[in-house]
């Protein structure tokens, strides 16, 4: 309707020409804004690198973590203690469930407005470190402002990416095989033990299925942490430098191992395995009663215990336990562009090395990283599930091997591709060899 309106058709040629100009200018201006805005925001985010000179100047530190209500309560209490000791420091606290946490963190970072201090895990630490988002904590560690002298060496080293300390472990955990003790006792079945071989584990699970009608173990072929431990027992690793640390043959062997277990009815059916893989801790098969064992992290024991009446036990994953390592359950990292770096580092130090706070936080983020304080916490522990996971971790600490490198950029994609490939084999849509080939192919483009 608009182009045919009389005024325009009547208008001399020259004028229509002139009308076009402002519009073009508008467009050009729009483009300029589009290009300039991010530059401006980016520049703003990069500036002000120097810390405040006055140590008593008021500081508002933003902090972001994932977790549930219980963790939020504990963390808020801990931060309140810090404010009590340093009245000039207050906190802007944001927390949410794990689901969607990293989307939000990435979006905040993209907007040039990430929190000064944030919780991160080994799925993303290398991603953030490789993009220079995290502050290198090495100099603070050297000067003693960040005290890691009481940490297990391998634990703080598991925060080093490309020679830089990108995050400090907020706690330690390790892989744990959790089993339903009540079910086994009732049926006079032996409990699994640390150090049993994979074959022994599967045979044991087969026996459990036969006697109790509850599948003995959950097929962990889609579970990267089980695959990782198994690889390390074969003298391989998940990553070597910027490359995969394994071949298609390794994956085939791994998938074949579990195909055998499924055929022997040592595991539930594919759909139940999928249900366990794709849901949170409250729906793990060992607590829903759909399997006698679940492959989890040892520090998740108290959470699992909350969801079942049965008594649970926990041991190391099958095979040589030295393939397991002191893993940082999560880290605290400081944003490189933060205006309050020194304070943020001091808060991390406080959360890890202050006896009062560490006792307060307990094992919520894994076992305390500071070994002296870990002893204090474990002496104090009253929750039997917590006691148990501390005991297992303490027992394993002597057997742990060296930490692997932190997973590389693209790790989250590798994890989801492993699930896809393993499920293809579980649902019988591909042979183990086909699924392995597909996995390797997908990994190559994921980490390229």
């Amino acid at each position: 309707m608009h182009p045919a309106t009389p005024p325009t058709t009547d208008a001399p040629v020259g004028r229509t020409h002139r009308t076009a100009l402002p519009r073009r200018r508008l467009l050009r201006g729009l483009l300029a804004v589009t290009v300039a805005a991010p530059l401006m925001f980016g520049a703003a985010a990069c500036g002000d690198d120097d810390g405040a000179a006055d140590p008593n100047a008021p500081v508002k530190l933003s902090i972001f973590w994932w977790g549930g209500d219980a963790r939020a309560k504990l963390t808020e209490d801990a931060l309140a203690l810090y404010t009590k000791k340093h009245p000039n420091v207050t906190f802007e606290k944001t927390w949410q469930a794990n689901q969607g946490y990293f989307d939000k963190l990435a979006t905040l970072t993209a907007g040039g407005n990430p929190p000064d201090l944030f919780q991160i895990d080994d799925n993303y630490l290398a991603e953030y470190a490789a993009r220079n988002t995290t502050l290198d904590l090495t100099s603070y560690q050297k000067s003693g402002k960040l005290d890691t002298s009481k940490f297990p060496e391998s634990l703080w080293q598991y925060g080093v990416v490309d020679g830089k300390l990108a995050g400090l472990a907020a706690g330690e955990n390790t892989q744990g095989l959790v089993y339903n003790k009540t079910l086994l006792t009732k049926n006079n079945l032996p409990e699994p033990t640390t150090g049993m071989s994979w074959e022994q584990h599967i045979a044991w699970a087969e026996q459990v299925t036969a006697k109790t009608k509850v599948p003995g173990t959950q097929d962990p072929s889609a579970d990267y942490k089980a695959f990782w431990v198994w690889l390390r027992q074969q003298g391989k690793d998940l990553y070597k430098g910027k490359e995969l640390g394994f071949t298609a043959e390794d994956v085939t062997t791994w998938f074949d191992l579990w195909k055998g277990a499924r055929d022997r009815k040592a595991t539930p059916t594919a759909d139940v395995i999928h249900e366990g893989n794709s849901s949170d801790i409250t729906k793990q098969l060992v607590v829903t009663g759909k399997s006698a064992t679940s492959w989890v992290w040892a520090n998740q024991m108290p959470d699992l215990k909350k969801n079942t009446k049965d008594e649970l036990g926990v041991v190391a994953y099958p095979g040589d336990p030295s393939a397991q390592w002191a893993r940082a359950s999560m880290y605290w990292s400081v944003f490189k562009g933060s205006k309050n770096k020194d304070v943020a580092v001091d808060v991390i130090n406080f959360l890890n090395n202050d006896q009062e706070v560490v006792k307060l936080l307990g094992t919520d983020r894994g076992l305390p990283s500071n070994l002296d304080l870990r002893r204090v916490v474990s002496d104090d522990a009253t929750d039997p599930a917590m006691k148990q996971s501390i005991a297992v971790e303490a027992e394993l600490t002597q057997k742990f091997g060296t930490s692997p490198q932190v997973p590389i950029k693209g790790h989250s994609k590798v994890k989801s591709e492993l699930i896809k490939a393993a499920e293809n084999a579980q649902y019988g849509r591909a042979t183990p060899a086909q699924a392995a080939a597909q996995f390797i192919e997908a990994c190559k483009s994921a980490i390229a």
């Binding site: 608009h2 290009v35 991010p38 953030y128 989801s416």
Partner: protein
């Protein structure tokens, strides 16, 4: 008419208005009117620029870069058409997502419209309590793309969910619907179809518009129920059908929430529910390939535009407007 031409003088600038003395007064009047219009529009215009136009242009720019969301804009690398090339030639999961989405839309949309029309016909009568039923049928679509509904769905269609319990009453062995790669997408389709309330209400409104004389005339001519439906209802309703078809198709392609919740954000089991938008989300936020995800978004936009254009061009052959001569 006057309103739509009003902005023109302002665009032309005051000089041109002055040149035409005889138009001076109305011109100036229009000018100030136009200005006021822009002033009143400005909050919306700023919003449009700030939250729609600028981000859209930005995403177009990013689709030609390797932007990964964590790197500052100033350091992103221009990669030309590489993202588009990868999408079309080197990314099997992209094509898988396209197939899943097409399957979903091709099956769920027609069935949803059929259900909506069928129920609208039933509820277009004056029997007692019809209002209650209209409300009840509309309810599911009020809940729309809600997460809660998707969670309910997952629990209903689990291996030990309510649906299988119902089946077992009839001695039928159920399936682990949502955890079975052969059935997960179908379960999502049923959810989408079940939410037919919105198109149903629009159909109802359309049915009310059909003049009763036409039915009377048709029945005088000896047309039965079915012929009346075919020769009176359908043609009279065709603009409404067209409207619903376009709207629901676009909705269908954009299906995200249910697939996201059902698969815990993975598109599983084995990628069976990897809808286009879910794949896009995973690419951007989980795999941190925002540049590539932007390219996907633009192809998606174009694809929907093309499909809509096709609907409009075929619409000429089957959509009848009763006041057709005026158009």
């Amino acid at each position: 008419m006057a309103l739509t031409t009003a902005p023109d003088p302002t665009r032309r600038g005051p000089g041109s208005v002055r040149a035409h003395a005889e138009r001076r007064r109305p011109g100036r009047f229009r000018h100030s009117e136009g200005l006021a219009g822009y002033v009143f529009l400005s909050p919306w215009l700023i919003g449009l620029m700030g939250v729609t136009a600028v981000p859209m242009l930005l995403s177009l720019y990013l689709s030609f870069t390797n932007y990964d969301i964590l790197t500052p804009f100033s350091e992103v690398e221009w990669v030309g058409l590489a993202n588009y090339e990868r999408m079309f030639t080197a990314d099997p999961s992209y094509w898988h997502a396209v197939r899943v989405t097409l399957t979903f839309a091709l099956i769920a949309v027609p069935l949803k419209l059929a259900a909506a029309l069928g129920v609208a016909l039933l509820l277009n009568r004056a029997w007692r309590g019809v209002g209650l039923f209209r409300g009840l049928f509309y309810l599911p679509s009020l809940l729309g793309g809600s997460v809660a509904l998707a969670i309910v769905w997952v629990n209903m269609f689990n291996r030990d969910g309510a649906f299988n319990s119902l089946l077992s009453l009839f001695g039928i062995q159920g399936k682990p619907w949502v955890n079975d790669p052969d059935w997960a997408l179908e379960t999502l389709m049923v959810l989408a179809i079940w939410q037919f309330g919105a198109p149903m209400v629009i159909f109802l409104a359309g049915l009310k518009q059909v003049p009763t004389e036409l039915y009377e005339a048709a029945s005088v001519d000896g047309a039965g129920r079915f012929r009346q439906f075919r020769n009176v209802t359908l043609p009279m309703l065709s603009p409404v059908i067209f409207f619903n078809l376009v709207l629901e198709t676009i909705n269908g392609f954009q299906g995200f929430t249910a697939a996201f919740v059902l698969s815990n954000g993975t598109g599983g089991p084995v990628d069976s529910t990897l809808m286009y938008t879910l794949n896009l989300y995973i690419t951007g936020f989980t795999d941190l390939n925002m540049g590539y995800a932007s390219a996907m978004a633009w192809v998606f936009l174009l694809a929907i535009a093309v499909i809509t254009a096709i609907f409009f061009s075929t619409g000429r052959f089957w959509v009848h407007y009763s006041d057709g001569e005026d158009r």
